[in-house]
């Protein structure tokens, strides 16, 4: 790691700071000694081959998985105290879409965190949810049963649920997985808008071709961190080869 990075270690300019994070599933290591600093206001992709621990990294940062070692801080404070600043978009396949509920209800779930225990959502929360649905272009579908939505529409509902949280940092697990082209463009436009508002967005991403077009920051991950930094500086054959193995070739559009 270069020394420039180390200098700013103590400052709180980083939205997310991951320190020596090691995670193991059933004590089989998946992530090793990850140090990662994500500056505020970037739109960052996490790329790496299957089984590289991309989703695991996000889940460990969010406290869904318990790491073996290491710590995570959000704007300089432990994650537990900063939960309200963080929103999460899980993988679409992680839930049962046949669950008896409608789109609006799912988006309302985004407000539950700020409500806390027992308190019920009211008019204010409903209004926020409707606005989020509007933003992702799903307002006409607000009363649809969620199983009757297409894959892309379901993903937009998940995005809307995160938007309602009104967080500063957004973590998204493969939001472009199995969505149509229109949705992909709609989502990336919303992400870019979030960045414009100064929010930090971290996306687990699969499609290397679109990295330079969509993102301004990138982290290469394969069990350990390979590289992290601005796309224009580090998204090159060298890092791709290090991440994906010797035979990996990809045409990178600069």
């Amino acid at each position: 790691m270069d020394d420039n990075m180390k200098e700013s270690n103590a400052s709180t300019a980083f939205a997310v700071k991951v320190d020596d994070l090691t995670v193991a599933y059933n004590y089989k290591p998946v992530l090793w000694d990850i140090d990662l600093e994500i500056p505020e206001g970037v739109l960052m992709a996490i790329v790496g081959p299957n089984g590289a621990g991309k989703s695991t990294l996000i889940k460990a940062i969010l406290g869904i998985l318990k790491p073996i070692a290491g710590s995570v801080s959000i704007y300089g404070k432990p994650y537990k105290k900063q939960r309200s600043l963080v929103a999460y978009v899980p993988q679409k396949g992680s839930v049962d879409w046949d669950f008896p509920t409608i789109a609006l209800d799912v988006v309302m779930m985004g407000t539950y965190g700020s409500l806390g225990w027992i308190k019920r959502p009211g008019a204010k929360e409903k209004k926020a949810a409707l606005e989020a649905l509007e933003k992702v272009g799903m307002l006409p579908f607000k009363n649809r049963q969620i199983s009757q939505l297409s894959g892309g529409q379901q993903q937009r509902i998940f995005l809307a649920r995160a938007l309602v949280q009104d967080a500063s940092i957004y973590f998204m697990d493969e939001p472009f997985q199995g969505v149509d082209a229109t949705t992909e463009i709609a989502i990336i436009n919303i992400l870019k808008e979030l960045r414009k508002e100064g929010k930090t967005v971290v996306v687990v991403h699969h499609d290397l071709q679109t990295v330079p077009e969509y993102f301004d920051w990138v982290t290469f991950l394969n069990v350990k961190k390979i590289a992290t930094g601005p796309v224009k500086d580090i998204f090159n054959d060298d890092n791709l080869t290090k991440t994906y193995g010797i035979n990996y070739k990809v045409s990178v559009q600069k």
């Binding site: 090691t22 004590y27 290591p29 090793w32 089984g51 073996i68 070692a69 290491g70 069990v223 350990k224």
Partner: protein, 386 residues
Amino acid sequence: MSSAQLEIQLIASIVAVACAIPGTFLVLRKMAMISDAISHSILPGIVVGFFITQDLNSPLLILLAALTGVITVALVERIQKTGLVKEDTAIGLVFPVLFSIGVIMIAKNANDVHLDIDAVLLGELAFAPFDRLTVGGTDIGPKSLWVIGTILLITIALLIAFFKELKVSTFDAGLSASLGFSPIIIHYGLMTVASVTTVGAFDAVGAILVVALMIAPAACAYLLTTDLKKMLGLAIFFGVFSAIAGYWVAHWLDASIAGSITTTLGVVFFIIYLFAPSKGLIAVTYREKQQRIEVSLLTFLLHLKNHSEERERHVNHLNEHINWQKVRSKTVLDLALKNNMILINNSIVSLTEKGDAFTSQAINYIVTNEDAQIEDMKEDFFLFRG
């Protein structure tokens, strides 16, 4: 030991073997609960068969009841396909209904059917030796011995004939289909054998306890080995052992034979669950603790290699940044010191040559995702077990 006692133990042992064979495959195919469903839903088949044949040991009754079992499986799959409910709900809906129908049929015809609900749940193993089979006037043994013996022979013949197909389709259904054995035929074949066995065994140990004889020996064996042949052998051994030991427990307590066979199985399973060499609770807990330290040590060494700055290598950093509890960081530090991996100089930790080489090798393996080689490596360095 009287000859009746001997016969009971013989019947119980044969039932145990006949159950253990399909049970092993059910456990491996994650379909253990299907055996529970079958054992319940054969009841209406048995009652109808009994109306027709008036004989619990008649082959026709066994076939009719087994057919109900296969119908159950088909019905569950049909309901699943509608997508209206999930798979486990489909199972949970079908068998209580069929069982209820059976119970009501018995209750409504109590005068004609000499079937007792207790017998349905528990079987009447103690009376099995009194129902003799006679051929041309000579007594050739208890009827149920012949019934379950025949079922066992057929099961063994099928097992030997289709062992390869069963093995392939159990571990890799896709491969099996591409090799030309239809997984569906094997699936329904197995379901038929399980149903026939359940019906045959039902007379001896009762509808619900058949489930125990199918699942528990196989589960015990699965905790001890992953080799299919060994697993079958062990499952049969546990089944027979529990059958005989259970009989004597029942004899001593003067209680239900089937109940005490199951209880013996339960005790056997509990012991194996706790003490199985590598997959038992104690072994797993110990290994997890061990691995936690191993992983921690590797993390620590990796950290040292990654960071040349002194601040990152201060002893106290372990507590602060790596976020470990005091005790654990001390354990890790001691372990690394003992193995000559690190040197501590003015509270600054650095890698020794040995530690450096070890860590480089570890990084290499970790990045290439070759976990198996890390295991070998640990032995090379005689590191973690001391």
